[in-house]
């Protein structure tokens, strides 16, 4: 019971510190923004990497997320946790980036973008077992899996974000799970 109380106090304290930092950034404090960046850099990059399956593009988008965050942080009203809001901003920017940078051939020929190859995977440090598998998934299956299983979006929301039918989102999720299970069991 004592441990629970301590933990609860520590969490409240952390939340208050996070709110304070966000408030300072909203006032234009660049030093606070640097601190905020250091706190959220890894989860934002990890989400970008999972969605884009390309280290260089994930780094570019991570920069874009934080630059846009600087200009748009006033829009954060504190109705959700800051990290939840930041993840939703990141997802939207990464999807928009994917759309803008869609392979010119994909626009005219129906090649589905495959996942990361073994060589590129080996160059990413710190990937856990599941990430290594997620990054091998074909693009649509990967996007749906990350948004649904990792980020917790509903299929209706994913359909709107990716411009696909709810049924397609569900079938891509099923396809992703099947591929992941197959790879996991044959590893």
């Amino acid at each position: 019971m004592l441990i629970d109380a301590k933990q609860a106090f520590s969490n409240t304290n952390k939340d208050e510190q996070a709110d304070d930092l966000v408030h300072k950034v909203q006032q234009g404090d660049q030093a606070a923004f640097a601190q905020l960046y250091r706190q959220h850099e890894k989860p934002v990059f990890a989400l970008c990497l999972r969605l884009l399956a390309d280290q260089q593009h994930a780094e570019d988008v991570t920069q874009e997320v934080f630059v846009q965050l600087w200009y748009k942080i006033s829009q954060f009203q504190g109705q959700s946790k800051f990290s939840t809001w930041l993840h939703s901003v990141t997802s939207n920017i990464a999807i928009s980036y994917l759309r803008k940078h869609k392979n010119w051939l994909q626009k005219v020929v129906s090649f589905e973008q495959s996942g990361m190859d073994e060589q590129s995977l080996a160059m990413c440090n710190g990937l856990n077992g599941l990430d290594k598998l997620i990054l091998r998934l074909p693009e649509r299956a990967r996007l749906v899996f990350v948004l649904h299983a990792v980020e917790g979006y509903r299929h209706e929301e994913i359909g709107n974000m990716l411009g696909m039918a709810v049924g397609s989102s569900k079938s891509q999720y099923h396809r992703a799970r099947q591929l992941l299970q197959e790879w996991y069991e044959h590893e």
């Binding site: 989860p43 570019d60 803008k100 010119w104 051939l105 626009k107 020929v109 440090n125 077992g129």
Partner: protein, 158 residues
């Protein structure tokens, strides 16, 4: 020791925070970008992808009509190459007056062109091989990415 079942593996892995980190320090680029006011050239950056997108769709339509009506015989490599050349020339013209951010990009482009020639050579023996066509498309994409990357005026290169 036997593996944990897939559902448990998924549950465990999803509960762990990811420790993956960028390969370089991204902060200096962000710091520089936020020190400058938002660029008014953003409209130009939004304009060009639209123009190239429309051009790509137009060329694709033209190619489809050409292939189906004018030339019934199929040659995907030739059609892809024609489409790519149009895109590449459009980009080179677009960036003509803009200095490149690295000096060795022409050398990198030469290397990609050599790879393109090697794939084309293989395709001569097996013209509709899907894996080779995909490889050719990827080499073309890398060339376009390289041209864009060394000229694109965003914080991506900072």
């Amino acid at each position: 020791m036997s593996k944990v079942n897939f559902d448990d593996f998924l549950k465990e892995e999803l509960a762990k925070p990811s420790k993956v980190a960028p390969s370089r320090d991204l902060w200096p680029g962000i710091e520089r970008a936020i020190a400058e006011p938002p660029k008014s050239s953003i409209n130009d950056r939004q304009y060009w992808p639209k123009v190239t997108g429309i051009a790509a769709c137009f060329i694709a339509g033209l190619l489809a009509w050409n292939v189906s009506v004018m030339r019934p015989e199929q040659n995907t490599m030739r059609d892809l190459s024609a489409l790519f050349e149009q895109q590449k020339q459009a980009l080179l013209v677009q960036y003509e007056a803009q200095p490149a951010l690295t000096n060795d990009w022409q050398q990198q482009l030469d290397e990609l062109e050599q790879a393109e020639q090697a794939v084309k050579l293989a395709l001569q023996n097996d013209p509709e091989n899907a894996a080779l066509l995909k490889m050719l498309a990827q080499v073309y994409q890398q060339q376009l990415d390289l041209i864009n990357r060394v000229h694109a005026p965003s914080w991506q290169q900072i």
